[in-house]
Symmetry: D2
Subunit: 466 residues, 4 copies
C-alpha cells in the first residue's frame, strides 16, 4: 500500500497528483498555528483517552499515543522538531511526528475527529488562557491605579471637558475613572469566557461521527464547562474570537485615552508629571528630548486591535456553513490582539507607576477661580435663584472677570452684588479644596468618598495578591 | 437682565457675541437626537422628583415641571413642537419649550445636572430598550427556525464544507446551527445590558455637584440597577454603546451567513428552495427575474454594522477625559445599528418562513454515495483498520469511482474487497438516511437527537409566546 | 391587459401575488436615493435623446419625454411630488410619474436600459459633483491656511515631536504642513475622478442590449470622458465609491490632526490661541466654559468616514458578479462621507480663520534654550566633532542644565567648554529666531523659504479666486 | 568620555539611568523593521555621498562609510549580524554595527538627519518597490485572464444578477470584467506611486537642519522624483501608506469576488469547472473531499487588508504634528498587505490557469429559454410595443411557461400570439448564442466584440512579456 511517507498530508488517497509546492506554502498555517501546539497535544491526549474509554482503541494504544504526544510536545517546545509547510498545520505536524515516533497506534489518533473540530477546540483552549492572562494584566493595572491614587490622596488637578479646565477634581478620582473602565473590560472578558468555554471536539467534519464517542468525558478532561449542541455550529462558529477581539479593542480604547492623557501630563505645557528616565526614550538627533514613547505606542496600538476585529468580522461575513478555509484567517489577529493587550496593559502599569506627579503644578492649574463658577451658580440656587438664571448671572460675572482682568477671588462683595445680591460673601466659596469636598453625592470627587473607595479597593487587591 | 429669549441656548452669559449660524448648524445634534425625546422627558421627570424630594425645589414646582414635561412630550410626539438647530440638542429643546410653557419653575429643572450626565442617561435608557427589542426579534427568528425545522423533520440535504458536499445532514440540524448563533447573540445582549444598566445622572459636568442630590432615588425611579461610582467615568464612558454595536455586528454576521445560504438555495443551480412572490422582487429590464432581494440586503447590511462599530471606536480613540464633543458621534451609529438589527431579524424571519423547501431536490443532492466515504472509513475503523489507513483506502476507492464512473453503491463486494477485505458488505452502509441516524453522539445530526431538541425548543418558545 | 396602475412597480407580469408591504419598506431605497433625482433626470434625458437619434423612439416621443422629465424634476425639487416606498427607488418613481404625466411615450423611456446601469450612471454623476465640491472646499481651506500664515509671518512656536517641544519653527511653516496634506488629498480626488468619469449606461442588466444604441452619444451628452468596456463590470463595479470614501477618510484624518492641535492650542495650558465667541460653545452647567466644539466634532467625525469606508468594502466582499442588491448599500455611506467632508472642511476653515493666535505666548514657549540643543550639536559638527559624539556631549550638557537649573543661555564659556572646547562662544547660537533662519535647505523652516512659498501660494489662490 | 558602548542607543547623554529592558522590548521595532535593511543601507549611502559632496564629511570618510555600509548589508542579508531589541530599530542597528566596523567615521553618518526623516525615506523606498511588485503580479493575473478567455472563445454561461440566471454571456466577457477591475487597481497603484515618490530625508527631526545639505542630490541618487516641500509634513505624513493599503484592499475585494465565484463554479451544484489536484486540498476526515482552499483563503484574506487599512487610519487619527511613535505602527500592516496582495494575485493566477472549465455544463445552464425573456421584450420594442408594456407581456408569458411547464421554445406561434400578436415567429430568437451575438453595442457580450478585445489585449501582454 503506497503511502505519502515524507509528509503529514493526510488526504492523499483521492488525489492523482501531488499538491503544488506554491499552493502548499500559501495554504499552510503551520507558520503561525504552531503556537497552538500545547493545546493541540492536550486535546489529542484527551481525545485518545476517550477513544480508549469507549473501546475504539485499546488501552495499550492509548498509552503509546499519550507518551508519544508528550514526547512530540517536548520536541516542539525545545525546537528540536521543526514542522515545515508540507505539514499544512500544527495538527498534521503533530500527527505526522507521532506516527514517526510510535508507528501504527499513531495512525489511530485521528479516529472520529476532523481538523475542523480539532482546531476549534485548540483555539478555544487558547482563548480561555488568553482571557485569564488579559484579565490578570487588567487587574494589575487596576492595582497600580489604586496604588498611585493612594500615593497622592489630596492631589488636586483641573478636571477637563473639551480639554478646557472645567472643575477641580482629585487626581485619585480621575485615576479611578480608568479603574472602572478596566472593571468593565474584565466583566466583558468574563462573559466572553462563558461562551468560549464549550467543547467542539466530537463535531467531526460537521455532522458528528458514526463512532460511539463520549464527548462529556473529553469536556471533563479538558475542563470545558459544556459540550456544543450542534455539530455544524461547532465547526463554523468563531463568535468567541470576535467577542474577545471586541473586548480587547475596548481595552485598548481605554488605554489609548490614558496614554494620550499621559502625553499631555508630561508635556512642558501641562507639566503635571515627569517621566522616569527608565521609561522614556531619547532622540537620535535632538540631544534634549525625552519622549513618552510607551504612551504613544499604546495609543497607536489601538489601531491594530480595531484592525484585527475588522479582519475577522470581514472573513466571517457571508460564509456559508459549515467550515470554510476563510476561518483559518482567525488566528493571526487573535494572537496579535492577545499579545497587544498583554503588553500594553503591562507597560501602561509600569509607566504609570514610574510617573512622578507634580502636585504643585497640578494645584496651580486648578486654582483658577473660574473653575468654581459652577459652585457660585449652585450657591445662588441654594439662595433661591433658579439655576438657569444663576448660570446666566455667573456667566456675566465670568465675562466681567475676563474683560477686566480681575479674578473672581479678588472681587469685593460690592462688586459681586452688582451682579446678584445673593453673591454677597460668595467669594469664600472660591477654594478648590473646599469645592471638592462639597461634592459628596454618590460618585462625586470629594475626598471622603475617594478615601472610602480607595480603602475598599486596596483590600480587594491585597486579597488577590495574597 | 438681558436674556437670549429666542433660543434655548443655555450658556449665553459668558459670551459677548452670538454663535455663528453655520457653527450652530454644524454642532447641533437635534437633527438626530430628537429620537431620544421620550427618554429625555422621562429622565427629567425623575430628576425633578428627586429635586423636590431633596428640597432643592418645592413640590409645587415639581408638579408644574412634571406636567409641563408631559405636555412637551406630547407636542414632540405629535410633531406640533419642532425644535430647530438653534436648540442645539434635544435637552435644550425640551428645556426651552418647558420654560416657554410654565415659566420660572422650568428654569430650575437643570439644577444639579449637566447635559453631559443627562445625555449619557438618555442614551442608556435608549440602549436598554434597544437591547430588549433586538433580543425579542432574535427570539422570534429562533422560533421561526424551530418552526421551519419542525415542518421538515426528515428533510435531508448535503452538509457542506468549503462549499463542497461533505456529508448528508438533516435540514433541521442545519437550521438549528443558526438557532445557536442567535442564542449566543442574545447572551451577549443580556451581558451588555448589565453594564448599560447604570445611572449616570448626578455626575454633573464631570465632578458631581455641591447640591444634596439623591442618586439612588433617581435610579429607582428610572429602573436602573446601579449608580455609577465615578462621576468622570459617568460622563466619559461609551463602552455600553461599543459593546452593543459589537453584539449587533455579530448578529448581522450570522444573518449574512444565512442570507448568503438562502441566495444559494434559491439559485437555479441548487434549487433547494423557492422564493415566495411576496418576498421576492423582479427586474426592471428582465421579465423572467425573481430575486432574493431581502437576503442580499441583509447580507450587505452587515457592512454598515461593522462600519458603525468602527465609527464609534475611532471617535473614542485617544480622547482625554472627561466629556468631549466627539462623543456626540455615538448616536447615529447606535440608531442605525439598532434599526438594522431589528429590520434584518424581522425580514429574515419573514423570508425564511415564506421559503418553500424542495425536499426532493435536497435529497437528490445528498444522495451521492461519495458523501458517505467517511462512513466507509469509520466502518473500516470498526473493523480494526487504523483510521489514517482507512482514510487512505477509502480515498483510493473514491478516486477509482470517479475515474471509472462507477458509483460506490454500484460496486460489487468483489470490487470493493480489492481495496480492503473489510469492505465486504459495506455498500449496505451507503444510504444517507441511515448514515444520518448513526450520528447519535451529542451534537450530531441524527433524527432522534433533532426531534428531542426540537420538542424542547418548541416548548420553550410556546412558553414565551403565552 | 391588467396593469399595476397605482405603483411604479415595473416587474409585475411574472408575479402572481403582490409584494409584501413589509418587504417593500425594507427593500425600497427611495428614502435616500431621492437625493439622486437631478442626476436621474439628466441621465434619462440623455438616454431619451439617444433613443431618438438611433430611431428607437420618435423625435416626438423624445420631446414629450424630455419635457415630462423636466416637469417631474421640478415637482421633485419643490416637494410637490413625494415618492413613497411602493416606488422602490428614484428611478421607478421618476418613470411612474412621467407615465402619469405624459402617458404612452413615458412607457418607452426604459427601453434598452436597466436600473443596474442606470443607478451606476446616476451615482457616477453624483460622485463627479462630490469630487468637485470637496476639492473646492479643500482649496478654500488651503487658502485660509495661507492667509493665516501670512498674517503671522514671523510668529514662532515650538515644533513638537512626541508632544515634547523639539525645535522652534515658524507658525506659517507648521500651517503649511496641512496645506501639503490637502494638496495630496486633492490629488487623490483628481485621480479618483478619472476612474469615476466613465459611462455605464448601455450595459443593460449586465450583458448590454440587442437594440442598436449609441453609447458614445450618451457619454458626450452627459460629459463622461469614456464608455465602460465591459457591461458586466459596468453594473458590478463600485470601486469609484470606495476610492472616493478612502480619499475622504484621509481628508478627515488630516482634519482630525489639525482639530486636535487646535484643542491643544486653545487649552489654558498651551494658550497659543483664543477661540472666537462665534465659533465656540458654552456649557449648560458650567458658566465659565468656552469650548472648541467644532474642532472636537471634526476630530470625532473622522470615525464615521472610516466606518463608511468599511461599510462599503464589507458589502462588496465576496459578491459574485454581476449586480446584487448588496450594492444598494453604497449610497448612504457615500452621501454621508460627502457631507462630512464638505462640512468639516468648511467649518475648519471658518474656525481657523477666526482663531486669534497669541504670538507672545507661542514665542515664550519656544524660547527654552534646550530646544536649540540640536543647533549646538550641529555647531560642534561644523567644528569637526563627529555627530554621534556631538550629540552625546550636548546631551550631557542638557542633563547638567536640568540638574543645576542653569539655562544653557546663562552658562559661561568656561562652563560650556568643560563639556567640549568647541563650545566656546556657542551660546550666541541659542536664539530661536536665528536658529530658524539657519534652516535654509529645501523644506526647512527658515523665514526666507516660508516667505517665498507664501508669495507663490498667494498668487496661486488669487488666480483661482478671480 | 563615557559612552554606551554595548548598545546602539544613540541618545544616552541626557539620561541618568538606563532604559528599562521591558520598555526596550516593547518599544523596539527591530523585530519587524529589519525588513527595511536594504533600503536603510541604500539611503544611508546616498546620505553619506551628499555629506561628502557638501564637504560636511571628507571623501575618505565617505568611502569608509560606504564600504562599511555595504559590509553591514551583507552581514544582515546573510544573517551573520543579528540585531537585538537593545538596537531599537534597523537604523540604530546599522549605525551601531557600522561604528563597530569602521570606527570614528561611522559616528558621522547620522549628521544632519534624524530617524524621523530616515524611516520615512526607507518606507517610501519600500512602498515604491511594493507598488511595482503588486502591479507586476496584477499584470500577470490579467494575462492569465486573457489566456483563459482565449482558450474558451465561444463558451457560454449564464450571466447572473442576484445569483439568479439573468442572460447568457460569454465566459470570456465574464472574465474580462475582472481584467478591468485589475486595470483600475493598477491605475490606483500608479497614482499612489506619484505621491510616494518624494524624498523626505533632509527634513531632520521636523525642522530641517542648520547644515548646508543638498537634498536634490540625495533625491537624484535614490531615484526620487521630488523633494518634500515642508519638513514637518515630511516626517508626519503617512498618506502614501494609507493610500497603498486602500488600493490593496480593493485588489483583495476584487479577488474575493472572483474567488467566491470559483467556489461556486467548482461546486457540485454549478459544476462549471473542475479543480486541478495540484491546486486543491483534501480533508483529514472525509476521504472524498477536494476543496478550493486557495479560493477560500484569498476570499478570507480580504479581511486582513481591510483590517490593516483601519489599523493605520486609526493610528493616525488625531495625532498632533510632527512625529509621534504611533507612526511606528505603520510598518506591520504595510508589510502584511504587501505580502497578501502578492501571494493572492499569484495564487489566483495559478488557480485560474489550472481550472478546467466544462463548456457543456455551462452551456446547459445557459440554455434555459427564460434567460432570453429580455430578448423577447426587446423584439416587441422593435415591433413597436412600448418597453414597459413589452416587459409586462413577456412577464406574463414567463409566468405562463412556469405554471404550465411548457418552455418558451416549445410554444407555438398560436400560443405566443395570444399574449401579443407581435410575438409571431419570436421563438426563433430564443437561442443563447444568437442572443449573445446581437449584443453588439459598446461593452456588450457579443463574440465579435470579445474577439476584437482579446486580440488587442493579447498584443498588449505579448509586448510586455518580451
Amino acid at each position: 500500500m503506497a503511502k505519502n511517507k515524507k509528509t503529514s498530508r493526510s488526504w492523499g488517497g483521492r488525489f492523482k497528483t501531488a499538491p503544488s509546492p506554491r499552493m502548499q506554502a500559501f495554504t499552510a498555517s503551520i507558520g503561525f498555528d504552531i503556537r497552538l501546539f500545547p493545546y493541540d497535544v492536550r486535546a489529542s491526549i484527551a481525545h485518545a483517552r476517550m477513544l480508549a474509554a469507549t473501546k475504539i482503541i485499546s488501552a495499550a494504544e492509548r498509552d503509546k499515543i499519550v507518551r508519544g504526544l508528550r514526547a512530540v510536545e517536548k520536541e516542539l517546545a525545545s525546537g528540536r522538531f521543526k514542522p515545515d509547510t508540507s505539514d499544512e498545520d500544527i495538527h498534521m505536524a503533530v500527527e505526522r511526528r507521532l506516527i514517526e515516533k510510535i508507528g501504527a497506534p499513531g495512525a489511530k489518533l485521528h479516529t472520529a475527529r476532523s481538523r475542523n473540530d480539532q482546531v476549534a477546540t485548540d483555539v478555544r483552549l487558547f482563548v480561555k488562557d488568553a482571557i485569564a492572562a488579559v484579565d490578570a494584566a487588567g487587574e494589575k493595572l487596576q492595582a497600580v491605579l489604586v496604588e498611585v491614587a493612594s500615593r497622592h490622596p489630596r492631589a488636586i488637578l483641573p478636571g477637563y471637558t473639551h480639554l478646557q479646565r472645567a472643575q477641580p477634581v482629585l487626581l485619585g478620582h480621575h485615576l479611578l475613572a480608568y479603574y472602572d473602565m478596566l472593571e468593565r473590560d474584565r466583566g466583558r472578558l468574563a462573559d466572553c469566557l462563558v461562551r468560549a468555554d464549550v467543547l467542539t471536539l466530537g463535531s467531526g467534519a460537521l455532522a458528528g461521527t458514526t463512532l460511539p464517542i463520549d464527548r462529556k468525558l473529553v469536556a471533563h478532561e479538558l475542563g470545558f464547562a459544556r459540550v456544543c449542541e450542534n455539530s455544524i455550529d461547532g465547526v463554523a462558529d468563531r463568535d468567541f474570537i470576535v467577542e474577545f477581539l471586541a473586548a480587547v479593542a475596548l481595552v485598548l480604547t481605554h488605554l489609548s485615552r490614558l496614554a494620550n492623557e499621559i502625553t499631555l501630563w508630561v508635556s512642558a505645557e501641562f507639566g503635571f508629571a515627569m517621566l522616569d528616565d527608565a521609561y522614556s526614550t531619547g532622540s537620535s538627533m535632538m540631544p534634549q528630548k525625552k519622549n513618552p514613547d510607551i504612551a504613544e505606542l499604546v495609543r497607536g496600538k489601538s489601531g491594530r486591535t480595531y484592525g484585527n476585529l475588522i479582519a475577522v468580522l470581514t472573513a466571517l461575513k457571508g460564509l456559508p456553513l459549515a467550515y470554510n478555509s476563510d476561518l483559518q484567517e482567525d488566528k493571526e489577529p487573535l494572537f496579535d490582539s492577545t499579545d497587544t493587550a498583554l503588553h500594553c496593559l503591562e507597560m501602561t502599569a509600569a509607566l504609570l507607576a514610574s510617573l512622578r506627579f507634580d502636585e504643585e503644578a497640578m494645584a496651580a492649574a486648578a486654582s483658577d477661580p473660574l473653575l468654581l463658577a459652577t459652585d457660585l451658580a449652585e450657591h445662588l440656587v441654594a439662595e433661591g435663584v433658579a439655576f438657569r438664571e444663576a448660570h446666566e448671572i455667573t456667566g456675566r460675572l465670568v465675562r466681567h472677570s475676563l474683560e477686566t482682568g480681575v479674578a473672581l477671588t479678588d472681587m469685593s462683595d460690592a462688586e459681586l452684588t452688582t451682579f446678584c445680591p445673593a453673591l454677597a460673601g460668595a467669594s469664600a466659596l472660591l477654594d478648590a479644596a473646599r469645592s471638592i469636598d462639597r461634592r459628596r453625592s454618590a460618585g462625586g470627587t470629594s475626598g471622603a468618598l475617594l478615601t472610602r473607595r480607595l480603602r475598599k479597593l486596596e483590600r480587594r487587591h491585597a486579597r488577590k495578591a495574597r
